[in-house]
């Protein structure tokens, strides 16, 4: 394939843009969960379990006092005096079984001695140096944590696919798990195309601008559980775009190409994907990210993300994010909190197209659509509190309508 030169600046044409649902179906059918890896417990929180975890042990493994007080026989809490014959502390059990007429002091977490079947709280006891008397009777089992009452040996503690929460790390520790098998974190390669781009941190000068998409994409990928490799900068050249894409598909699980995604003569990335693999989707009926592409090279998903930063964010949120989360074993839903809100103004759209509409959430809880247009204005998504999606079957959303707002914050 020859390098398309500048004189080719013309609309190669998108043909019919793919419906959003069709693009999502391509992702759902072809982005598969990555293999698993073993990580130490300290790194488990936030990761996704690759297989269910069963407990090899009972928690607790012994009868344990749930209170500070006195271990005794419930049937002897009728007010009689019991001989205080010793004590049990955590990890320091009373040395023998309790006999009739006896009690031992216990603290929370201490093993309950054999022969005792209840714990009398210290507040409900009249205790001297050598004896104790219950101020009220307690039933058998009172304040005694039974063997396996938290986790029974053999029970499934956590299911496969669980995104591990802080308390899950706790229960994994409780059952003695030193390591867990989790889904490998997706590795993302970002190729930023465009002769005008300076790397982030550079001060824009002359007609060159700083690459704002890569730092945004790296942070988005991290949010979705992935690891972004350092961005590679690729000039507007077909062969170099193709070669960089091929290398990226060796190094990463998923590749994002920003810029040059449309149908003009300088838009090399769609042609590079088609040359190396399959350009499954090119052009999607979504505003402002219509020049988005989805392809596969040697089985790796490749996302062509528009260079305009708002369109890039929209294309990431709706499409690339879903693939990243699926590769990582996560739920495919949008990773934003959702809030119901009344629209303060009409949102125009068109049947057949999804609109990604930035909104501000007002103090009264209503959602104010921000002026549309300006896919290049990153400030609009910085000022927005979130976005509303106008479904493909709606020509507009009406003022006063209650909608879902997906919150950035």
């Amino acid at each position: 394939m020859s390098k398309p030169g500048f004189t080719d600046v013309r609309d190669r044409g998108f043909g019919a843009r793919a419906p959003v649902d069709a693009a999502l179906a391509v992702i759902d059918s072809r982005a598969e969960r990555l293999p698993s890896e073993s990580v130490p417990l300290a790194e488990a929180a936030g990761r996704v379990l690759a297989e269910p975890v069963r407990s090899a042990t009972n928690v607790p493994a012994f009868e344990r006092s749930a209170m500070d007080g006195f271990a005794l026989r419930a049937c002897e809490t009728d007010g009689r005096a019991l001989a205080l014959v010793g004590a049990a502390l955590p990890a320091k059990p009373f040395a023998r079984a309790l006999e009739a007429g006896e009690a031992v002091r216990v603290t929370t977490g201490a093993p309950v001695p054999a022969g005792a079947d209840a714990v009398l709280m210290v507040e409900r006891a009249e205790a001297g140096e050598a004896s104790v008397r219950a101020k009220e009777s307690v039933p058998a089992g009172k304040h005694v944590a039974r063997v396996g009452e938290d986790v029974a040996r053999g029970a499934e503690v956590l299911p496969a696919g669980r995104a591990l929460r802080p308390q899950d790390a706790g229960i994994l520790a409780a059952i003695g798990a030193a390591r867990v098998r989790v889904v490998r974190r997706p590795v993302v390669a970002v190729l930023a195309t465009g002769n005008e781009l300076l790397p982030p941190g550079a001060v824009p000068s002359g007609f060159r601008i700083a690459d704002s998409n890569s730092p945004m994409l790296a942070a988005l990928a991290a949010r979705d559980g992935a690891i972004a490799l350092p961005t590679r900068y690729v000039p507007d050249d077909f062969a170099r775009t193709r070669d960089a894409l091929s290398r990226a598909c060796d190094e990463a699980d998923v590749v994002f190409v920003t810029g040059g995604t449309s149908v003009g003569g300088e838009d090399h990335s769609p042609l590079a994907v088609a040359a190396l693999g399959e350009l499954a989707v090119h052009g999607i009926a979504v505003r402002p990210a219509s020049p988005t592409g989805i392809g596969f090279v040697r089985g790796k998903p490749v996302f062509l993300l528009p260079g305009n930063p708002v369109a890039c964010l929209c294309a990431y949120d709706l499409f690339a994010s879903r693939a990243v989360r699926k590769l990582g074993g996560r739920a495919p839903d949008l990773p934003y909190a959702r809030q119901r809100a009344v629209l303060s103004a009409e949102v125009p759209s068109a049947v057949g197209r999804v609109d990604y509409v930035r909104v501000r959430v007002r103090a009264d809880g209503s959602a104010e659509p921000l002026p549309s247009g300006g896919a290049s204005k990153l400030s609009t998504v910085v000022e927005a509190d979130g976005f509303v999606l106008v479904p493909a079957n709606r020509a507009e959303l009406a003022a006063g309508e209650t909608v879902d707002v997906w919150l950035y914050g």
Copy 2:
């Protein structure tokens, strides 16, 4: 102060437990934002801005085409033929100003030449090799991104206190910021007390149990933007608890002590805080975390978190988390998404006390309270989808009542 021996097992007494609001007021009045530090842009997302960021540059810094098409004079889009005199690409401007009767090809992001005031989209043009004609007229300014229309030089781009989102990293790159000043991440020291504790990863054996609170707390602290130091294990001994606490207050910005927080003879941590500084709150009217303490040692907040894991999570969520977030410059609100739900059953409580009630969210969206009790059963917070808080002024929540559920997921 002498070491309290085992024979002191008795209720030292909490006296009146502090209302939850009073405990929160102590945190709010005394946990102050940490100093700032400078971080490179690549590490900025997720951090909290210590000062507002203003732009030293206009974005865009030059008039830029927002479309692929033709730069021309809007007043000449009346159907007349315009001479195609050249082209502009990103970072490759047309060399001179446009004269009357002329047009140049432009791609998205290319500088618009002086003399041109509009861009005609390629789809709206009839173009040959040497000339172009507009199929419809366009107004001046059409598809031209004005200088500073995204960010004006001198404008505040992001306010102090902003928790930086992925798109914020993008706009910081766009204005050429190489580094940003953010609030330092709080450093958390965790002291786990209890002779019975084995470190996480160890298999529980005999009467010893694995420490499940530390891995949970480290993950919670990370979620709230903090860094947990490796846990220190402290035996049930007053002097060693006091000395470990003193060292921890040198090393960290906030200290968590788990276990031994109540009023029995083996509860050394409240006495250690009092010996080194001030035990401002001890005992809070909240279930299941009533044996929680809040103190200050050399200005550092110290949280005494109950050893029972559910109580530990509750005390972290309601109290310690708030301090961590305030130190880190974050909003003090609970860091969980909130969902309104109808309670499927009554939740008993008591006036004067806040209850932290674990709930499951059913398929129909209603919230099912899980059996209360079992502050030691971590499985209950693993199985729960979130929690409901019963306010102090309510004796119960009624079945059918609509409440806020704070979601763990």
